[in-house]
């Protein structure tokens, strides 16, 4: 049984490994490092850890400045404050000139623990997708997260990386290697394709078990690279399975589902059902209750897939 690890739990180790070989790696924090678990980086490389305090706008523009003198900054705090609070700074200081800043956006979507609406980033994918030169990634699990951090250090340009809070099993295959713009088939199938990323893969895989009992065999694809998105996989899904369901840890407006629809509408029109937060504000509650509240349990997903196939 492969160990369940939280994506945030691998950040420090991944960053330290990078920094040991590369003197250009620096990490910026907005007073969140115990929760993002990057404190060991601070302890190991205090001279390369920039504590900005709860001042996310200052932090992002500082990261931009650092990148212009040859550093590779990883700027880290809660996803809401990376995307909403520091939106203008990412757009202007970073993206206009495609500066080499990597954003580690903690606790994405509605799975934030109990903190509720003010801390649930339901629109960060839509904001970041619409910024030229920005890339958006939500790794499937801790194993893919390690790969993404390593990839980020050699990718030239801005990256917005959503980092999940809770521990999950390994979803990615053993021989998988992350690449921007590429997706990964987790389960093969021909009746419908489910595109999903991150934490909700667990619920989709449980939904598959329910669906297989009804004789439905979906393809499940890890869409961890949201921008750029794997257009070939979307076209293939439309052509080979005829129906698409997307599952977002995000508002259905502007999330990965919307990105899939953009490709489908232009290249391969088929029916797409977007699952995710139905444009309602967040709520305070434990993560399993959040899935029930937003209609994203395995049972809900299975039901939605059935109804998509029936209509």
């Amino acid at each position: 049984m492969v160990e369940k690890i939280a994506p945030r739990a691998v950040l420090a180790e991944a960053l330290i490994e990078l920094a040991e070989k590369n003197p250009d790696i620096v990490v910026l924090d907005a007073d969140f490092n115990p929760a993002s678990m990057i404190t060991p980086f601070r302890d190991r490389f205090p001279e390369r850890f920039v504590q900005c305090g709860i001042a996310e706008q200052n932090m992002m523009s500082i990261a931009a400045g650092l990148s212009t003198v040859g550093f590779i900054p990883f700027a880290s705090t809660i996803a809401t404050f990376c995307s909403r609070r520091a939106c203008d700074q990412l757009a202007v200081s970073v993206c206009i000139s495609k500066l080499n800043v990597k954003v580690l956006a903690l606790y994405p979507g509605f799975l934030v623990g109990t903190n509720g609406a003010s801390h649930q980033s339901m629109e960060d994918i839509s904001i970041m997708r619409a910024m030229p030169n920005m890339t958006v990634v939500h790794p499937a699990d801790a194993y893919e997260m390690k790969q993404v951090v390593k990839y980020a250090a050699s990718y030239q340009g801005p990256m917005y990386i959503r980092v999940a809070r809770d521990a999950y099993e390994k979803f990615i295959p053993d021989d998988y290697e992350f690449e921007l713009g590429k997706s990964c088939v987790l389960r093969e199938g021909a009746d419908v394709t489910i595109f999903v990323y991150g934490e909700l893969i667990e619920d989709v895989l449980k939904a598959i078990d329910i669906l297989s009992e009804k004789g439905v065999n979906p393809r499940v694809v890890n869409m961890s690279s949201i921008k750029p998105i794997d257009e070939d996989a979307i076209v293939k899904a439309a052509e080979e399975t005829g129906r698409i369901v997307t599952v977002d840890n995000h508002n259905i407006i502007g999330g990965m589902g919307s990105a899939v629809c953009e490709v489908v509408a232009e290249k391969c029109p088929v029916k797409v059902k977007r699952l995710g937060v139905k444009d309602i504000p967040g709520r305070s509650g434990k993560n399993p209750d959040m899935k029930k509240y937003f209609g994203l349990t395995a049972q809900d997903i299975a039901q939605e897939v059935m109804s998509c196939l029936e209509n």
């Binding site: 620096v26 001279e47 390369r48 920039v50 900005c52 305090g53 001042a55 706008q57 200052n58 932090m59 992002m60 523009s61 500082i62 990261a63 931009a64 400045g65 650092l66 990148s67 212009t68 003198v69 040859g70 550093f71 900054p73 203008d88 700074q89 757009a91 202007v92 200081s93 206009i96 000139s97 495609k98 500066l99």
Partner: protein, 298 residues
């Protein structure tokens, strides 16, 4: 400005710097006349500050604007861009003809500075409040690498209403950035009304000191005072960043708008450009050459 590397300890040639400030004003007026409009007020209030920086204070190589040990300059109040481009032209970093591409889509001289689009521009600005933070990032980078390049950032008084400026003001002393100098272009006019009616900064010197900065004052149009202020800022070794409060007049140099509320962004006809260039002492032949160039383009 013909020397390759300007070392900050040279003796200042006050007259030469004053002439350069005037040349910067002439070029700003030429740019606005050519483009038809521009952010005159905030560009012209900063002309002397820029002349002092590019003529005397800053170390850089005009033939190698990416020289890694260069001093960095950021125009955080990015709408003053025409003054920055004019200064870069005076410094030999960009050719004068580039200035007249302003407002074309492909121009290196975008309405607000963009890094990577124009040589010598260190950070994309224009959305107020961001450039000082970016300068802090560069200064922190210098400290980590143990490099001795310095970072200079011009901020506006209206810009200093932005919360991010105060995040930056809090953080620079924390990071002990004695290699950072911010210059407040204190022209006392915000866009719509005088700054004291819009959102006063006073007591700005006390606030900056309380935040942990060294503070120096200067008449922002007196080159000698500016040179002295920079020398104090650069040589005060107490681990603190420095703020130079430069008292300026918005629109200084265009007599019909100087010090007036409406000078933030103006439309300028060729007739107005011609008259203003004459006032600035631009040689007649140069004015005629400029006018025929602009008329031919149209």
């Amino acid at each position: 400005m013909k020397e390759r590397i300007r070392m900050s300890k040279e003796t200042a040639d006050i007259k030469k710097i004053e002439e350069t400030a005037n040349r910067i004003r002439i070029k700003v007026v030429k740019m606005i006349g050519n483009a038809g409009s521009g952010h005159a007020g905030g560009a012209l209030s900063a002309a002397d500050i820029l002349a002092v920086l590019y003529c005397h204070v800053m170390k850089f190589d005009p033939d190698n604007p990416e020289w890694e040990d260069r001093d960095r300059f950021i125009l955080s109040k990015g709408h003053g861009a025409f003054a920055l481009y004019s200064a870069l032209s005076e410094a030999g970093i960009i050719p004068e003809k580039t200035l007249f591409t302003a407002y074309s889509v492909t121009s290196p001289c975008q309405a607000h500075p963009e890094k990577g689009r124009c040589p010598g521009v260190e950070m994309s600005t224009g959305a107020l409040g961001q450039g000082l933070s970016a300068g802090i990032g560069m200064a922190i980078g210098a400290k980590i690498r143990k490099k001795d390049f310095r970072v200079y950032v011009v901020i506006g008084d209206g810009e200093s209403n932005e919360g991010q400026i105060w995040e930056a003001m809090m953080s620079a002393p924390k990071f002990k950035l004695d290699n950072l100098v911010a210059i407040l272009d204190y022209n006392k006019l915000a866009l719509s009304d005088p700054i004291d009616e819009v959102m006063s900064l006073e007591p700005i010197a006390d606030k900056a000191r309380a935040f942990g900065w060294n503070v120096f004052d200067a008449d922002g149009h007196n080159v000698k005072q500016l040179v002295e202020a920079f020398e104090k800022a650069n040589n005060t070794k107490n681990s603190k960043p420095s703020l130079i409060i430069a008292h300026t007049t918005k629109g200084k140099g265009i007599s019909y708008v100087e010090g007036k509320q409406e000078c933030h962004a103006i439309v300028m006809t060729l007739e107005q450009a011609e008259a203003t260039l004459k006032e600035l002492g631009c040689p007649q032949k140069e004015i005629e050459k400029y006018l025929s160039f602009v008329k031919e383009k149209k």
